[in-house]
């Protein structure tokens, strides 16, 4: 077995990055935009649900936590299939024209990562709840102020939830492929491009895109970890 395809691929990838290949830049920006929009939408929905599940003590809380926990592991291809049917022209929300569009992929990825945000945030908040709630309340905090303090204290868990969601959305393939269809110049993302280039045997571009994918994910994790560190 020869290592040559890997070596060539790495070399070509580095060249593409150094020369700022327009296609590579376009695909990268589109991926960032899609994952960013998906994470923002998911956070908007998932954070309040996660906080309520973490703080509350109401009937059905355990069931909801288990349900969201189970949904974290939903196969992306199955979810992509469901969304494909929903988004198709004859589907229930076909009038939104989301199929084969970047917003459509973002919505699909948001649906995928909402359970992840909910589960992570609920666990992080729950872990801080008793101690911080008692402490802040005995120092005079109202129930609302105590809840806000708990969420602040659970920041590292909340940020982990958001970063993980972004990572998941950014590296997602199944939904991007089924909802976006990998249309060049329109819906092609890093992951779908990597899959396509690999199938075509163009390892150079596939590696270049993979490096960027890794670099973005790793840099983002370092930045968030630095921001969330205890000073």
């Amino acid at each position: 077995m020869s290592w040559q395809p890997f070596v060539d691929g790495v070399r070509q990838g580095i060249q593409l990055i150094i020369s700022r290949d327009p296609e590579v830049i376009q695909i990268t920006l589109r991926s960032l935009e899609t994952a960013g929009a998906a994470t923002a939408m998911a956070a908007l929905v998932g954070l309040p649900i996660g906080i309520v599940l973490g703080l509350g003590s109401f009937r059905g809380r355990g069931f909801l936590k288990t349900l969201f926990g189970a949904l974290v592991g939903i196969p992306t291809v199955s979810l992509g299939l469901i969304l494909l049917v929903l988004f198709s022209r004859s589907g229930p929300i076909g009038y939104l024209d989301l199929l084969y569009t970047v917003p459509g992929i973002a919505v699909g990825e948001a649906v995928l990562v909402i359970p992840l945000i909910v589960s992570f945030v609920a666990s992080a908040v729950e872990a801080k709840d008793i101690g911080v709630r008692d402490l802040t309340r005995t120092l005079g905090a109202s129930e609302f102020e105590a809840s806000m303090a708990i969420v602040r204290e659970a920041w590292s868990g909340v940020s982990l939830a958001i970063v993980s969601s972004f990572n998941r959305a950014f590296a997602e393939l199944g939904i991007a492929m089924m909802i976006g269809a990998n249309i060049a110049g329109l819906t092609r993302l890093l992951t779908t491009a990597i899959a396509l280039q690999s199938n075509m045997g163009d390892f150079g571009l596939a590696f270049a895109l993979s490096f960027i994918l890794f670099a973005v994910v790793i840099s983002l994790n370092f930045v968030i970890s630095w921001l969330g560190r205890e000073r």
């Binding site: 101690g131 008692d134 802040t136 120092l139 129930e143 102020e145 303090a149 602040r152 204290e153 000073r231």
Partner: protein
């Protein structure tokens, strides 16, 4: 003035009854000690007094008003609890101490002044910018005290404040709490009878969630888990305290306090002999063995010497000396072994 009035107060957690039928009154400036074994209900009682939990039975009053879900927030503004394990919000020592003041909308210049004063009070001046979670356990508990004291609470509730601390830090913390006595209502829960005796002028004992004794320091002496604890009148004779504990027994101690006191001798500090032995020990009593039992691989003798003493010896000593129920023995221990509660 009465701050707390408890009338048949109880607390249930589901089917478990953590506290039952507690009736007592705590006045402004009064120091109350709460003693009891683990699970006796000490923390539950403190949490009710702090307004962190609401009683499920009876009536708890703060300044004459019943405490319920609606009024507990008012109580929490005036009663602050210190937890056994100090907890901190993310940030520096100063940010933690300032937390309650900022919640109350205190102007920043006043916050800064009061935080500095509170840290001086707990002997941690200069610690303002340190990370509150990265200082030692003793320092953390002192920050927790500063954070509560800075609010100038009417009621100061302490749950085992010196548990798990080294003697030096425990002593500093006791000094800080003792300095607050009389200025506000203090309720301190502890296993440590000696410490409670030092900090409180009234004591209650809880057992299985029930109040089994309340009164002065004599409660400590008569409490079931206060082995060899006695109360009596002390007077100083040539620099040595002599405490008449009744039954013809006068115990000498090295402390310098006269009047009503509670004292204790550890069972392992007492020496047993069959004859009078000339030693430097200031205390020697003749008695009769009324009970012998094995506890955790050591022998505990119950000796009636006018008052009942518990003495700890090894199994080997028991066998070699041939001690049995009915044996006549001498008990001796040093005045410095007598602990003032």
């Amino acid at each position: 003035m009465e701050l707390y009035g408890l009338k048949g107060v109880g607390k249930r957690f589901g089917l478990r009854r953590a506290l039952a039928d507690i009736s007592l009154s705590i006045g402004d400036g009064e120091s109350l000690g709460v003693v009891g074994e683990s699970g006796a209900g000490k923390t539950t009682l403190l949490r009710l007094l702090a307004g962190l939990d609401i009683s499920t039975e009876g009536r708890l009053e703060w300044r004459g008003r019943s405490v319920d879900q609606a009024t507990a927030a008012e109580l929490r503004l005036e009663a602050t609890m210190i937890f056994q394990q100090p907890l901190f919000i993310r940030g520096t020592v100063a940010e933690n101490v300032a937390y309650g003041l900022r919640l109350r909308g205190t102007p920043e210049d006043e916050v800064s002044r009061r935080v500095s004063e509170a840290l001086v009070k707990v002997r941690l001046d200069g610690f303002e910018e340190r990370n509150a979670r990265k200082i030692s356990g003793g320092e953390q508990q002192r920050v927790a005290l500063a954070r509560a004291l800075v609010l100038d609470p009417k009621a100061f509730l302490l749950d085992e404040p010196t548990a798990n601390l080294d003697p030096a830090n425990a002593s500093i913390i006791s000094d800080i709490i003792a300095a607050e006595a009389g200025t506000r209502c203090i309720v301190v829960a502890s296993h440590d009878l000696a410490r409670v005796g030092r900090l409180a002028d009234k004591v209650i004992q809880l057992e299985g969630g029930h109040l089994v004794a309340q009164g002065g320091l004599e409660v400590l002496a008569s409490s079931r888990f206060g082995i060899n604890a006695f109360s009596g009148l002390s007077h100083l004779v040539r620099g040595v305290a002599e405490v008449d504990v009744g039954g013809g027994v006068k115990i000498a101690g090295t402390f310098q306090r006269e009047g009503r006191v509670a004292i204790r001798v550890q069972p392992e500090d007492i020496i047993v002999s069959f004859q009078h032995v000339a030693t430097s020990a200031r205390n020697e009593f003749r008695g009769r063995v009324v009970g012998v039992e094995e506890v955790n691989y050591v022998i505990r003798l119950r000796v009636d010497a006018g008052r009942l003493f518990t003495v700890q010896i090894t199994k080997r000593s028991l066998e070699e000396m041939g001690i049995n129920v009915g044996s006549e023995v001498y008990l001796s221990f040093k005045a410095s072994s007598v602990e003032l509660l």
